[in-house]
Amino acid sequence: MVLAGERVLAVPGPLGALLPGGAVQRGTVVAVDGDPGAGATSVALQLAAAATAAGEWAAAIELDASLGGLAAGEAGVELDRFAVVRRVPPARWAAVVAALLDGVSVVLAEVPAYARVGDARRLLARARERGAVLVAMGPWPAEAALRLRAGGSVWRGLDAGAGALAERDQRVHVDGRGAAARGIALVEAG
């Protein structure tokens, strides 16, 4: 038996305020999307931080090897409970995601362009069975309980030849059951 409170993963901070109930449902897929530089990675890292803050584990699956470890730490991820699987070959992608869903609470998975709907549905079922949150980064070809789209953020602190990047207003469009339509969350501060 699981209590209702155990079926959700509370997301602290401004991102949580945008989500229905301030949390993501365990056993569901959260699709995070956005152009390069729009802030999708930062949003995904905050979901990983929510897991490690609860004493649980998170993992990320990358097709290349570009995730910023320092940025993960700044987003609040406990780095000793955050494993990254890098340069996953296309043929093994679905198997690796499925394996991680077995033992890790939040799995950030970069979705390759070649991902098949069938694979995606199987992973969705696996996440539901294991009570894990699959954060799909990129073009997720199947259903998702929540879709977050980053875009239109505003950077502050940088001028023409002066200052440095300091903070940004991150805009996240939230779409899904019981979700507020859109909002602004300040996710980075220098």
Binding site: D35, P36, G37, A38, G39, A40, T41, S42, L45, T52, G55, E56, W57, A59, A65, S66, L67, G68, G69, L70, A71, A72, G73, E74, L79, D80, R81, F82, A83, V84, V85, R86, V88, P89, R92, A95, V96, A99, L100, D102, G103, V104, G151, G152, S153, V154, W155, L158, D159, A160, G161, A162, G163, A164, L165, E167, R168, E188, A189, G190
Partner: protein, 550 residues
Amino acid sequence: MAERIACLWCPAWPVIALRARDPTLCDVPVAVVERGERGLVVIAASTEAVAEGVTPGLRRREAEARCPGLAVAEADPQVEARAFERAARAVETFTPRFVLEEPGRLTFPTRGPSRYFGGDTAMAVRCLDAVRDIGITDARVGVADGGFAAMLAARAAEPGAAYVVPPGESSGFLAPWPVAVLEDPEPGEAAELADLLVRLGLRTLGAFAALPDGAVLGRFGSAGARAHRLARGDDEATASPALPPPELIETAELDPPAVHVETAAFAAKALAEQLMARLGTLGLACTRVMIEAETERGERLTRCWRHEGALTPAALAARVRWQLEGWLTAEVGDDGSVDDLATSGLVLLRLVPDEVLPATGRQLGFWGGDPAAADRAGRVLARVQGMLGHPAVVTAVPQGGRTPGERVRWVPWGDPREPARLLDAVPAPGANVREAPPWPGAIPAPAPARVFEPPPPADLLDAAGEVVTVSGRGDPSAPPARLRCAALPGRGGEIAAWAGPWAHDARWWDRRARTRRAYWQVLVAAPDGERVACLVAVTAGHAALEAVYD
């Protein structure tokens, strides 16, 4: 004083189990191997093979070289456990209180049976007769104070005979044994301890037992203190295990009833994990567990399994599985009779922690968080490493450096998480490592969420369309106005704001390794109005997109 314990031991049980399953192997020398750190290693060998010099611990290839014609089989604990279930049933006829230690070895307190049969020796003979009746000829019984001494007494017994250590003489009996026997109840940590003791000149249990308690605890920790108690003949079982609270009992109802081992084992695995998680949150470890099952016809089956040290979820799940194999798999006896204990499917499965101790050594507190979660995560990460190779799974360790790429070391999962470079350029006394001041010239926070390795080439241009260069003194040729890079949306665009350059002259003392590089933070206006913050590095006039603040 420790409780009187009898130990029934069948040497080379894997071989006996294998021959029971495959009678063609009865006439040839047999060795059973197991995959360990050193590859396939012999764990048990038949007497013919032992006569040719095949001993446990030998590698497969060497064993085959020493004994031509050796039949080698991989260990299968399930088959061994299932075969041992018959011995367990034979012992059950005269004592219900026995504990399975591993396939091939069980222990029970002698107080009741010995009084009934008229002494330890008479009881031991009776026990040997019972197992001989079911066809196990090479069984031995040891009786002593405490389980550890009883195990060694069984080892000292002649084949098919008993060895009884009189009450109160266990410590004297233990003294001459080499310290290496400490490995047996609890491999791994104890093997290191035994190795260390030998190097310190303490070759026998007696020499180790003579050390003062406090010194042993201080030098070897709680595992060492436990081994020390064993060596002295103070068995762990006397350390009054706490009575487990009844709410720790985990029960699963099986609907439809499980007739196949797989179905029941699947339910048992979840049950084992739940039990361990509950015990873990209470700070308890379980050393002995009762596995109970009920069948459709209302039969109740019970077996008690014990594990030196403490059971892990995986070890418990394996034992439950072995036991289910024993119950659910019909054994065909020599006379053709089908000997199947569970005559119908299982409807109920129950795990009762029978002996719990405060968890001392096994807590994974080092990682923080929930130890059960760490256990689960560790297992799947190891599995992914098995699929993709050891370096494919990494964790980030912050370290010293100037650029976002330099400031993180990616350490393969399982390797020590240590930075390669100091976090502080000058370590401040008493400084918190997380808040350490960055190296001088470091790119300020926030850190970019995407760091490219290798960085894709880019063009950093000024208003006139010329490439922006940085002089040796760190002065730019002109303010940057445009960034072109294939990796950016819309292949780049106008620069709305910028900072830099941060000039880095790395390894200036080494003429060949010296690199001079300048870093720019730029805010690029993408075609759709999005502002993309980038980190651009210029090396020898060539720009590259180092990172994106995604």
